[in-house]
Amino acid sequence: MTLFLEQVLNGLQLGVMLFLMAAGLTLIFGIMGIINLAHGSIYMIGAYAGTYVAMETGVYYAGIPAALAAAALTGAAMEFLVVRRLYKRDHLDQVLATFALILISNQVITLIFGRQPLFVGLPSALSGSVELLPGLFYPSYRLAIIAVGLLVALGLYLVINRTRIGMLVRAGSTNRDMVRALGVDIRMLYTIVFGLGALLAGLAGYMAGPILAVQVGMGEQILITTFVVVVIGGVGSIRGAFFASLIIGVFDTMLRAYLPGFLRQIMAGSEADALGAGLSSMGIYLLMALVLLVRPKGLFPAHS
């Protein structure tokens, strides 16, 4: 039972990381109509900038503002220099341009930091484990990630539902043209949305640093899963992104944890391992296909 609870926590932790990425991506996709493949690069740049500052100063928390600032600046620069020219183009042009941004940022990072991964230690207050229930130890850093993710989700909920900016964002994701026709400065709104998305991606990247290796190409690994979350949740819907992230996080973790063992009970060991590893890699894509079959616009579509 404690093992099951621990795996649920692992799933939640993966889920909130995905949410931080997906929240920005779904807004950019839903409101601006941009497929931003370079969102993973912002995640990577946030991780590198924060980790670098943390390594230089020796203080973990000093990395947080650095990561956020670097991510927001990169996001703003991307929007101003490249993405702004793509709003009227079709999706293929957007994919090409933002894919080029991935290649460019990977090479620039390689030139500056080299190919060896960077490492930052855990803050000392969070380096141990906490006994949540008798026998259930869980790393405090991962608990902190879950807490931060849930707080960000709550904050986003309040901003989107209780503020004027949030109202515009909601309106923009439901009917972009109408918002523009009512005289709202849509450019301003776009920049805010893009910057907000970049901030969250930078935060996610920096928080992932001490667990994973900070290395070139780390953004692409999480980006694909993030797109699955966006599609399952419904494009443009923060609420959808939140629930889809948690569903994908827990589903993926549970498949990895239990599927090979389950298959081993009904077939030979080596075949079960091969099939289990294969199926658990495919799992989230199968889930996406199923969801799209039943609800073609995702679980919580914004344009209803």
Binding site: R115, Q116, P117, S281
Partner: protein, 390 residues
């Protein structure tokens, strides 16, 4: 007419030897290796180790001047093959070395040896070329992947562990690693997980390890993945409670620097270490550190040993590689010292050597170092040799 032709050839040969006697044409050695990408330091160390041996002898190996042609395969089998073709056809290279990765070797080595050239591997050791697929022109100076990962299994048994939990990525080298481990481990495998090759978060696997509570964990995660795995192992609190065994490619002297404290106490096994007590090794480690300003890895030592092997054979044939049979026999005599101490070629021209158990410990200066604990296996060959016949 026939006689006259033979006479001309003899004359030409005579002239040729007069010319080479004056200023001997350097022997070309083609080095195809991996210098770019995250694994670029492997090829860099093989190259630097090899070149160190040449530098220490004033540009000569076995008193024969050599010219080393280095090219980067970028870890792409296709590139390796193209470079080999160019070396064979345009540069007329007869002696090859350098390949790091088994997949590059698999695509490149058959081309080289079928053309009648000699390949001496400084690192890659796939089992497919060790048994029935062996070739008289193919020598391995490093180790077989199977034996290398197997040494971790031997080490685990030797340390008295009975129940092992094994993890590797779901691809060929990962499966080979687990096969090798099982071959040498006497105890029981209580858990076996194949992770995704692109997986960087191992929280779900850590939870399973904790649940099963094995005596020992064996993992093989190449490059950055292994570093992430070790750090998460430490963060989840498993480091103190469940010991881990790995083989040296998962914890070489470069990775050790990157991982830091998460590596302390780790049980490592391999065929070479900086502290192996033999004069060749002592000279190599000192010279390498002085020349390049960094600690050599096992790859550097293997590159250096490969150069010593070439030196011995080139010396015996006095730089004449027109008769490759003579060169091959000279190489097979293994009349050279290595940084690993005793070394012979087995029937399949793969190493028969000693294997060591090591541990990551703090030295007097408080730095983490890889310390040799004891000899695990003496003059150990491999199980594939019996299937090889030339």
């Amino acid at each position: 007419m026939k006689n006259m032709k033979a006479g001309l050839f003899a004359l030409a040969g005579l002239l040729g030897s007069v010319v080479t006697g004056g200023a001997q044409e350097p022997v070309k050695i083609g080095m195809i290796t991996t210098l770019s990408g995250p694994a670029g330091y492997l090829g860099q160390d093989v190259r630097d180790g090899f070149e160190l041996a040449v530098k220490m002898n004033d540009g000569k190996l076995g008193n024969v001047p050599v010219e080393i042609l280095v090219e980067d395969d970028g870890l792409k089998p296709g590139n390796g093959r193209q470079i080999a073709d160019r070396f064979l056809n345009n540069e007329d290279v007869k002696l090859f070395t350098g390949i790091i990765f088994s997949n590059v070797a698999g695509a490149t080595v058959p081309d080289i040896v079928d053309e009648g050239a000699i390949f001496v591997s400084p690192n890659a050791g796939p089992s497919e070329f060790a048994g029935a697929g062996c070739h008289p022109n193919y020598f391995v100076l490093s180790w077989l992947t199977d034996t290398m990962q197997g040494s971790a299994g031997k080490n685990a048994s030797d340390l008295g562990y009975k129940r092992a939990f094994v993890l590797a990525p779901n691809y060929q080298a990962g499966k080979d690693a687990i096969t090798g481990f099982k071959r040498y481990f006497d105890g029981e495998i209580v858990g076996e997980i194949y992770t995704r090759l692109d997986q960087t978060d191992f929280a779900a696997e850590m939870a399973q390890i904790r649940e099963v509570a094995p005596d020992v964990v064996f993992q093989f995660q190449p490059g950055g993945l292994g570093i992430a795995f070790l750090r998460q192992y430490q963060q989840s609190g498993l480091l103190g409670s469940i010991p881990m065994v790995v083989s040296e490619p998962s914890m070489d002297h470069a990775i050790l620097k990157a991982v830091g404290d998460a590596a302390e106490g780790l049980n490592v096994s391999g065929a070479w270490n900086t502290d192996l007590d033999n004069p060749t090794n002592a000279a190599f480690v000192a010279q390498f550190e002085e020349t390049y300003g960094r600690t050599p890895t096992m790859y550097a030592a293997q590159g250096y040993d490969t150069a010593l092997a070439f030196a011995s054979a080139l010396g015996k044939v006095e730089g004449d590689i027109s008769d490759l049979d003579a060169f091959r026999s000279a190489l097979r005599e293994t009349d050279f010292e290595t940084t690993r101490g005793a070394f012979e070629f087995g029937a399949n021209q793969h190493p028969v050597q000693d294997w060591y158990a090591m541990r990551v410990e703090k030295n007097d200066a408080g730095e983490l170092v890889l310390k040799t604990r004891k000899k695990l296996m003496s003059a150990h060959g491999d199980p594939f040799a019996q299937d090889c016949s030339f």
